[in-house]
C-alpha cells in the first residue's frame, strides 16, 4: 500500500500542466500579483492611520503571506470536481487503490510544485521584507492538520453535490472558488471584517479552514476554542462525506474515457 501511495505522490508531483511551462508560469504570476496587491493594501491601511483595533501590521502581512503561500493546504481542492466534469473519474475505480486514498495522495503530491514555485519564494520574500513569520502559538500546526483533514471532507462533500447537480457542476465549482476565499478567511482575516461577521463565519465549516490555523499562528485568536470547533466539524463532516459519497456513486455520470 505504501508503495502505491508513494508512486501516486511521485506521479502527481511530477505532472506538468497540460498547456506546458508557460501556463504554469502565468498561473503563478497571477498568484504573485494577488499577494503583492494585498500586501500593499495592508501597508496603505496602516500608513493611513486606520484604527486596527490592536492588530499589528506584521500580523496582517504575515497572515496574508502565509495564506497565499500555503493556500492549497488551507483550502483543499482535489481533482474530484474536474474529473467528474470530464468523466475521467471513472478511471479511479479501475485502479488498485481506494478512491479517497487516490484523491488525497494525488492532491498532496500536487502540492510539491506550489511549494517549490510559490511558497518557498514567498517565505524568502517575507524575510526580505522583514515580515516576522515566527509562530505566535505552536498549536497552529495541530490546527493546520485539522484544517487539511476538514478540507478533504468539505471537498468530498462538494464532489457529491457536483455528482447530484450534474448539469450545473461548473457553476457550483465557480461559486465555490469565488466565495471560498472570502468565507474561509484566506483573503481577509476574520478579525478585519466589519459588523462582527468574522465571529459568525469562524464557527462555520468554511471558516475553520484557512482562518483558524492562520489566526492562531499570527496570534489573532487563541488556539483552543478554534481547535475544539475544528475537531467537532471533522467529527461531523467525515462520516457525512463517506456516507453521501457511497450514496452518490450510483448517480455518477461520465462520458467517454
Amino acid at each position: 500500500m505504501l508503495q502505491k501511495i508513494l508512486a501516486t505522490l511521485k506521479i502527481s508531483a511530477s505532472e506538468s500542466s497540460y498547456f506546458g511551462v508557460m501556463n504554469i508560469l502565468s498561473e503563478y504570476m497571477l498568484k504573485w500579483l494577488r499577494l503583492l496587491g494585498l500586501l500593499l493594501i495592508w501597508r496603505m491601511l496602516f500608513k493611513g492611520g486606520a484604527d486596527m483595533q490592536g492588530m499589528t501590521l506584521n500580523q496582517m502581512l504575515s497572515y496574508t503571506l502565509l495564506s497565499a503561500a500555503f493556500a492549497p493546504l488551507l483550502d483543499i481542492r482535489t481533482a474530484a470536481s474536474s474529473w467528474l466534469q470530464d468523466g475521467s473519474f471513472l478511471a479511479l475505480f479501475q485502479r488498485p487503490m481506494g478512491i479517497f486514498t487516490q484523491l488525497v495522495t494525488q492532491t498532496i503530491g500536487a502540492w510539491a510544485i506550489h511549494l517549490c514555485m510559490f511558497a518557498l519564494p514567498a517565505l524568502v520574500l517575507g524575510a526580505f521584507l522583514n515580515i516576522g513569520l515566527n509562530p505566535m502559538n505552536p498549536w497552529a500546526f495541530l490546527s493546520l492538520l485539522l484544517t487539511i483533514s476538514q478540507g478533504f471532507a468539505v471537498d468530498f462533500l462538494f464532489a457529491c453535490l457536483i455528482i447530484r447537480a450534474n448539469s450545473i457542476s461548473y457553476q457550483i465549482d465557480a461559486l465555490r472558488r469565488a466565495l471560498g476565499v472570502l468565507l474561509t478567511g484566506a483573503l481577509i482575516p476574520f478579525a478585519a471584517l466589519p459588523f462582527n461577521l468574522g465571529k459568525y463565519l469562524a464557527l462555520t465549516p468554511f471558516g475553520t479552514l484557512a482562518g483558524a490555523p492562520l489566526s492562531i499562528y499570527v496570534g489573532l485568536e487563541s488556539a483552543f476554542p478554534l481547535i475544539y470547533i475544528q475537531i467537532l466539524w471533522n467529527v461531523i463532516l467525515w462520516p457525512l462525506a463517506l456516507y453521501l459519497f457511497n450514496r452518490s456513486m450510483e448517480r455518477m455520470v461520465a462520458y467517454g474515457g
Partner: protein, 279 residues
C-alpha cells in the same frame, strides 16, 4: 447605411442565439446568470469590506471605494456583455485550438465577427447590471452631481477601460499564432492579471510603481484613475487624455501584432485542432 444594417443584423443573431439558451433551458440559464452575479460581486466584496471596516483605504473613503469598485465591475461587465461570447475576449483559445479557420471561412470580415459575435445581452449581463447598481448607489451616497459632461466622461472612461483590457488580451493572444499549444490560455492570464490589481486602490504607492501600473501594466487605468477623476479627487484633463491615449496606443499595438500573427498563420496554419470549446 447598409453596412450599419448588416452590423445590427449580426448583433441580432447573437441576441437570438443567447436568447435560445434562456428559452430552451430556462432553469439552467437562470442558475448560470445567478452564479455569475455572485461571482462578480465576490470579486469586489473583499476590498469593500476592508474599506467599510477601516473607513476607507488610502485617500478614498468607503463610499468612494464603493464607487471605484462599481466602476470596475461595470467595466468588466461591459467586456463580458459585448465580447464575452464565442471566446472573442479570450481569443487565444480560438487561435491555440486551431479554430480561427471557423471564423476565416465565414462570409463576414474577422473584425466584424469579433465585434458582433461575442454579444451576450441575456446571459452575459450579470457584472454589467451589478456594476451599474453599485455605481448608482455610490453616486447617491456621495451626492455626485451627475451632469451631461460627467456622464460623457464616465462613458469615455468605461470605453477606454474595456479597450485597454481587450487590447492587452489581443496583444498577448498574438503569441498563440506562433506557439498555439503553450499560449492557448494566455489571453485569460493577461486579462486576469490586469483585473486582479484593477480593483485595488493604488493610493500611497511609490511613483515608480504607480508609473508601472498606469503604463506597462495598466491595471491602474481600469478603475482607480477613472474613479479619481470622476470623484473630483484629481484634475480631469491629463488623466483623461492619458487613459484615452493609452487605450488608442494599446489598440493600435494589438491590431499590428494580431495582423502580423495572421500573416504567419496564413503561411503555417495550425497543426492543432480541438473540437471542444466549439465555435
Amino acid at each position: 447605411m447598409a453596412k450599419l444594417k448588416h452590423i445590427l443584423n449580426l448583433f441580432a443573431i447573437s441576441v437570438r442565439l443567447d436568447l435560445n439558451w434562456l428559452t430552451q433551458d430556462t432553469a439552467f440559464c437562470l442558475i448560470t446568470v445567478l452564479s455569475e452575479t455572485i461571482v462578480a460581486l465576490s470579486s469586489v466584496i473583499g476590498i469593500f469590506l476592508l474599506a467599510l471596516r477601516f473607513g476607507g483605504i488610502g485617500s478614498l473613503s468607503a463610499d468612494e471605494i464603493l464607487f471605484m469598485l462599481g466602476f470596475y465591475t461595470l467595466a468588466s461587465g461591459t467586456m463580458s456583455l459585448f465580447f464575452g461570447g464565442e471566446n472573442v475576449l479570450h481569443i487565444s483559445r480560438r487561435i491555440g485550438r486551431g479554430q480561427l479557420d471557423h471564423m476565416i471561412i465565414q462570409p463576414v470580415s474577422l473584425p466584424l465577427q469579433m465585434i458582433t459575435s461575442g454579444f451576450l445581452p441575456i446571459t452575459g449581463n450579470s457584472s454589467f447590471v451589478c456594476g451599474l447598481v453599485i455605481v448608482i448607489v455610490a453616486c447617491f451616497r456621495l451626492s455626485i452631481a451627475v451632469t451631461a459632461g460627467w456622464v460623457l466622461l464616465f462613458l469615455l472612461f468605461l470605453l477606454c477601460a474595456a479597450a485597454i483590457v481587450i487590447a492587452y488580451s489581443y496583444c498577448f493572444a498574438s503569441f498563440a499564432f506562433y506557439y498555439p499549444y503553450g499560449s492557448e490560455e494566455i489571453s485569460g492570464f493577461a486579462i486576469d492579471g490586469l483585473l486582479t490589481l484593477g480593483s485595488y486602490p493604488l493610493g500611497d504607492l511609490s511613483v515608480f510603481l504607480k508609473g508601472f501600473l498606469f503604463s506597462a501594466f495598466p491595471s491602474g487605468c481600469i478603475a482607480y484613475l477613472p474613479a479619481l477623476v470622476l470623484l473630483g479627487k484629481t484634475d480631469a484633463l491629463l488623466p483623461a487624455l492619458w487613459v484615452l491615449l493609452l487605450a488608442a496606443f494599446l489598440s493600435a499595438l494589438a491590431t499590428t501584432l494580431f495582423k502580423k500573427g495572421l500573416k504567419h498563420y496564413e503561411t503555417y496554419g495550425s497543426q492543432r485542432y480541438k473540437p471542444f470549446g466549439m465555435r
